[in-house]
């Protein structure tokens, strides 16, 4: 058990290092960031900028410095805004977190029950409704959903405001539409995983044997089926949450609600190397922590790993 955890953690560190290095190289392919600043037409000023940002040094030195700073927990400072990347990230986090989490709740509240019903009533009208909902959710880009909602509820019906975050992140009137637009895709996603993992379990021999034993149906479903189907569902839900919080760029653009997605997007457009590297690193760390947590969850839930 301890060996397993150590091994997983080791792999996670290697993965992180590979990713950081890849992003470090990739952002440097985008071009010279000093040209994105005002007054960059003056070659002297541009050279000064490059020197200030340390871009005049060889790549190897830049890379070494970057890794050393990372090891000390320093993610660097944005070229454009001059602030530490972590500060910028945590400034944007509340807006994104509230939106992402609302969408996450929608995806769970809709996706999981619909998936369970689809699996229980497989090949019936219920199943077809669930599958159709999932398919359409997965087939419409979320910015289109957002725009349609804006036309419908904002422009035509004029029920809800469509732009900005309103009075802070918790203003529900500004939250409903983007949260739904973001959540639909992921609800579809949840329906599929819930349905297929429930089906796998329901068709297994051990659930058949439990039914043959004449155990009440709700015990079959809650005790045996759900427990066994839970792990893939939880894993996907966690990943979805991370994506919804960090990568909601199209929704943030459509609803004029700047968050982490916009921060990252602007960073990429402005060749703001430290910002891009930092935010990507944040996301990667979250995903890796989630993967580790999932491993622990497996180990904790599944007696095959937990015991002997």
């Amino acid at each position: 058990m301890i060996r397993l955890v150590a091994k997983r953690a080791g792999i996670a560190v290697v993965t992180l290092w590979l990713l950081v290095s890849a992003v470090f190289c990739l952002v440097r392919f985008t071009g010279d960031p000093s040209t994105m600043m005002e007054g960059a037409s003056d070659p002297q000023y541009a050279a000064a900028l490059r020197q200030r940002w340390g871009l005049d040094r060889p790549y190897v030195v830049q890379y070494g410095l970057y890794l050393r700073n990372l090891a000390e927990g320093d993610f660097g400072s944005s070229f454009q805004k001059g602030l530490p990347v972590t500060t910028l990230y945590f400034q944007s986090l509340p807006t994104s977190l509230v939106l992402g989490f609302s969408a996450f709740l929608i995806s769970l509240a809709v996706g999981v029950p619909l998936g369970i019903v689809s699996a229980l009533k497989v090949n019936t009208a219920w199943d077809r409704v669930g599958t159709a909902f999932a398919l359409t959710g997965l087939s419409i880009p979320n910015f289109v959903v957002g725009l349609v909602l804006i036309i419908l509820f904002g422009v035509e019906l004029n029920w809800l405001p469509v732009m900005g975050a309103g009075d802070g992140p918790f203003d529900w009137r500004h939250l409903v539409l983007p949260a739904f637009a973001l959540g639909w895709y992921f609800s579809g996603n949840m329906v599929r995983v819930t349905r297929s993992s429930m089906l796998d379990v329901l068709r297994s021999d051990y659930v058949r044997l439990v039914r043959i034993k004449g155990v009440p149906e709700w015990v079959v479903l809650v005790k045996h089926a759900l427990v066994n189907a839970l792990i893939p569902i939880v894993t996907l839900a966690g990943l979805n949450l991370i994506i919804m919080v960090n990568v909601a760029v199209p929704i943030e653009v459509v609803f004029g609600r700047p968050g982490i997605g916009t921060l990252l997007f602007d960073g990429m457009m402005n060749r703001d190397f430290p910002l891009v590297q930092g935010v990507v690193l944040m996301i990667a760390i979250m995903v890796l922590i989630l993967n580790l947590l999932t491993d622990f969850l497996y180990a904790w839930l599944d007696p095959r790993i937990r015991v002997g």
């Binding site: 792999i11 290697v14 993965t15 992180l16 590979l18 990713l19 890849a22 992003v23 990739l26 952002v27 392919f29 985008t30 497989v122 599958t131 398919l135 359409t136 997965l138 087939s139 419409i140 880009p141 910015f143 289109v144 725009l147 349609v148 804006i150 036309i151 422009v155 035509e156 469509v162 796998d200 068709r203 991370i242 994506i243 960090n246 990568v247 760029v249 199209p250 653009v253 990252l264 997007f265 990429m268 457009m269 060749r271 891009v276 990507v280 996301i283 990667a284 995903v287 890796l288």
Partner: protein, 310 residues
Amino acid sequence: MADAVAVDNPPRRRLLPRLTSLPWIPLVFLSLLIVGAVFAPLIAPHRPLDPVAVTAAQCKAAYGQAFDGCYIKDDPPFFIAGSIAKTLLGTDYLGRDIFSRLLYGARISLFVSLVGTTFAGVLGTALGLIAGYMGPIWQQIIMRLTDAWLTLPPLIFAILLSTIRGPGIGNIVIILAVVFWCGYTRLVYAEVLSLRQRDFVLLAEINGVSRFRIMRRHLLPNVLNTVVVYFTLIVGVAIIIESILSFLGVGVPPPEPSWGLMIAQERDGLLEGKWWLVAWPGLAIMILVLSANMLGDWLRVRLDPHFQGP
């Protein structure tokens, strides 16, 4: 004790099922889109990059006077009152025919998604075979890289790459290949790990068949089902990613008629309630992705052994 009964013959799965069980809805939509894309120059009533030509009278009806280079901006479809140019689905902010642009846009979406995911599939399958069969060094290098790649959400990766490569249709193909290979690799790798223990591979090894030949003749054909199933899963995602990139302005560059780009260019008209500007491209994306997904679901049930019901 020997089996006292003649060998069991499972009924062979029919390759071409009866026509009634074919998924007609997605097939019809996809064929329409493909025909529209291929024959766009013949079908399209107007050119995709130029404004719809208007008569002096129409120009006068729109702007009160006739002038050279006149075009009707944001004209509604012919069935809505106030339509002047009387085009099928209306015109965009530069007076171009939306229907014609949609047809040409289908070319972009189909080309980019199919070629991009195919490239990703070829790359990912090759790497998966190598990682699974060429020994621990390759395995460690490729699989750690795969892990790292899978850590980043595809959309972030795609945007990052597109800021490097700049907008362009060819670049999107490259981006999709670079973003999506890792999923194939992980699946193929897992499959190869179990295949290499199987008797037919061991037998080939005993007989001194070269490793390359074993990969090509014995492993590749056995992972193809998985590869095709995964292809059907991500081709829809690829279309959506392309539309998002174009919508954000880092995908297909103007004036090309990409569906995502068409929506992005019409956001002002949208807030004035001109719904048709966003509805048609949105609908086009939805129909294409929905058909691809439905066809994929249908194929998956047939190809994926884990998916076969009773």
